[in-house]
Subunit: 493 residues, 2 copies
């Protein structure tokens, strides 16, 4: 691949084209032959695997186990919870037949009309219905509760306009589904998982998030409360990055799931569900990357350190190889993932551009003079700053540098968000400010009507009613009616 | 759950009922509301996760990366490789529509006839076609090769008669798909992955396997050679446990995937694919378990050691708790997974039966007298043998015991296989011996006709032409024609 092929459309020219270029050129994902479905390429998948491993560990630390439920949902299940079917029955892949047969003219295969299913199957858009139908048989008494289960799976929601990672017909996710004896316990679970997501976003993805609760019209279909973490992308748009739902007894009632409590009474079970998806890849990319390519937080980078030799001849390369092998071993012993790229068919300049594009946090380069001086050149991807340091203690130096990069990326994103969060008191000012992007904190009267009006006139939605921060009451910027606290508005992905 | 509910049908009464009972009662899996699709329960999934982690590490050690390809395959793709379509187009889930709508009478949802797909989508039964369609764009020159990719995914093959783990409509698996510049390299890859599977089966699952190559009629649809590992279950039936396919240039030709070699010539790419599935769970269960429940090899047991206190009162329990907490810490520091079950609502006898059923390799129990004597009771699940040992050095003792159990389980299965493998020279003897089950080594003339005749008359199939062992030529037991070596016959799952 020639170097020019790697050049990205600058963000200032077109943010959405920059994003598209970056996802493709950094080998993260691509569109497939199936409309709306993506191929996640090995480099992109390696980042997703890191996310999965960390989240999975957190789920297990908080007492959850993994399980697996069917891909298909009988059509009738979707109708059992009234709001749920409204939200999910619209865009879905429907399996109607279970066999193909050879075409009579020998040109391929056709659907066998005799193999029609009695009841159509829906490819799961989310699994509440099939899971609560299963839980009915798992739960008899309070001793069977809580059930704390998570599933890693693919889901399908038919989407007309898709964008790699951000909105695809098929995506990968995890969905937790828990069952509890009491309302309080279920609510605590939903909040706990919100905290797990927020912690993951901030500590690992280096993406600051606002934690809050959704307004009624933005809730998950079938939930009583939807908690959310909202990130702010570099173009000033919000991205919902994870949600945790308190489902009340809606699904227990829809699927008749009751338990006998300690006093012998029969009660409906309380539920939560919570999920994050490959959409997080989009959030990660858009939070930190620049016109040179990806910027990855070290904690999620598949390769944390790359080392490139710069040499005149084979003899010199051999000396550098020897020197570097000690450094590689030292870095690995500190748990750092490192790649030594001494491939002979690419020039150092090509490699530098490639690893910048792919967001490798630290690049080390060693040439003939470095070899003589026992030094090495260190480049940090986040700031694109170079310095030459001694090979003595380079391992500890790099380890500290990785920590520093992780912090710096977070701080940069945090400062960006701070600079792009404003409080606004009049609707006129709101309409002006919303054009600049960012989060707007404003008072709202709590009605769906006002929310709808604002959305129609400005394309801004209520991202959440924040759980933390200023709780001072005020008056709605549109209607002047009382408002309990400011809420977060933004245009969103 | 009362104790009698845990009792299994003895293997001697009905092996298949025993299997079904065990899968359900040990909380491994159950049938779902969707015909042929299973729910993998947390305990079963925990075993599968251990398998996944070990296999995934082995794939990465041998240079592979994970990626993800679409769930759906355009119908026309299946027809592109002539043999492949014959093998896979028959039983598959077909998506024909992408939307539901509310029924006009308000009773649920119906398929929206206006949302019919122009081309039907098949839920992947295996991914060669969609992947090779993708590889066409990834491969231009020899520098792009090899591609060494694996995917963990769900697949669907519509099955009329299903059995939990062994044959289900939806199952979980991994499928490796590699692309190579030369025939030799692709063949080596296919063989290498066979070795990876065999090593996993024997070292981790403690299941001895025969490595071999399939006869032409038992090959994967579209392969030039299918390598297989075959295990022998306790009822004398064979279970194909993993396959690795040398695909030649079939898929490259079907999807027009060429590369420019070093001399500038355009050549078709060589391919392999290889996979193991949740079927391995069935193999694991049937290799070792007994009428008391699961017997798990320590390397795959989610809980390796369970500790149960036996106490008269709270005061005594407190003393045991204290004593045990040191042992738990010691075991954990050796990397052993341990559960201390001091739950007050279950009796020790109930717990003993429960952990036997679930196949926990080692059970420790401590009562009042043990506390006085600084001893602990140790029970090994594989032999159901108990002894009382000193608490001094118990951690190392348990660690050695786990190793011993792992070896013993393998040895037992190995001895069983040895005792149930016979060489047979006449077809009459073959027909007699096949009724006893086991592997039969016999000469075969290499023709599909003879193979078919034997299958029709005896229900035995050629499991494989073994790669190792006796290679002496002979004459076919049926036709008397020349045979290059003995092959392995058995009745199979
Ligand atoms: Zn509802
Ligand atoms: Zn073919």
């Amino acid at each position: 691949m020639a170097k020019e092929l790697k050049e990205l459309t600058p963000r200032s020219v077109s943010y959405s084209q920059w994003y598209q270029d970056l996802v493709i050129k950094a080998d993260l994902a691509e569109n497939s032959a199936v409309r709306g479905c993506m191929v996640i390429k090995p480099y992109g998948y390696a980042i997703w695997e890191k996310m999965q491993r960390i989240l999975d560990d957190k789920f297990k630390e908080t007492g959850h186990s993994n399980a697996y439920f069917p891909l298909f949902i009988p059509k009738s299940f979707l109708s059992k919870e009234a709001e749920h079917v409204e939200g999910f029955a619209k865009e879905c892949a429907v399996v109607t037949h279970y066999r193909l047969k050879t075409n009579h003219d020998g040109t391929g295969v056709v659907v066998d009309p005799e193999a029609k299913l009695e009841e159509e199957l829906i490819v799961r858009p989310t699994s509440e219905t099939i899971i609560w139908n299963t839980y009915r048989n798992w739960i008899q008494s309070y001793r069977d509760l809580p059930i704390l289960v998570n599933q890693w799976a693919n889901v399908v929601r038919w989407e007309m306009r898709t964008r790699l990672f951000l909105r695809t017909a098929e995506f990968l996710w995890q969905e937790g589904h828990t069952a509890h004896a009491t309302k309080d316990e279920a609510e605590s679970e939903a909040r706990q998982m919100l905290e797990v997501y927020a912690d993951f976003a901030e500590k690992y993805m280096a993406m600051p998030v606002v934690k809050g609760v959704k307004s009624a019209s933005e809730r998950f279909a079938g939930a009583l409360d939807t908690y959310t973490i909202e990130g702010l992308m570099q173009d000033g748009k919000a991205l919902q990055s994870g949600t945790s739902h308190f489902l009340g007894q809606n699904f227990a009632k829809a699927f008749d799931v009751k338990y006998i409590d300690k006093t012998g009474k029969s009660e409906y079970v309380w539920a939560t569900s919570w999920g994050v998806s490959t959409r997080l890849m989009g959030a990660l990319i858009m939070s930190h990357s620049d016109d040179n390519g990806l910027v990855l937080p070290p904690k999620l980078a598949p390769i944390q350190v790359v080392i490139v030799p710069i040499y005149k001849n084979d003899e010199q390369l051999k000396l550098i190889d020897e020197k570097i092998s000690g450094i590689v071993a030292g870095l690995k012993s500190l748990g750092i993932s490192v790649k030594y790229d001494n491939a002979d068919n690419k020039k150092p300049g090509w490699k530098f551009a490639e690893y910048e594009l792919k967001g490798v946090p630290v690049r080390l380069a060693m040439g003939g003079r470095d070899l003589e001086n026992n030094t090495i050149e260190v480049m940090r991807r986040d700031k694109l700053e170079k310095e030459t340091v001694s090979c003595e203690g380079i391992e500890a130096y790099v380890k500290n540098l990785l920590d520093d990069i992780q912090e710096n990326i977070f701080k940069k994103a945090f400062d960006y968000r701070t600079a792009n969060t404003v409080s606004v008191d009049s609707y006129d000012e709101f309409k002006q400010k919303i054009e600049d992007g960012g989060f707007i904190l404003a008072h709202w009267d709590g009605t769906a009507e006002t929310e709808e009006l604002i959305k129609n006139e400005t394309k801004a939605t209520i991202r959440c009613i924040p759980l933390e921060g200023d709780k001072t009451p005020g008056v709605c910027m549109v209607t002047g009616k009382p408002s309990a606290q400011r809420v977060v508005f933004a245009r969103a992905y």
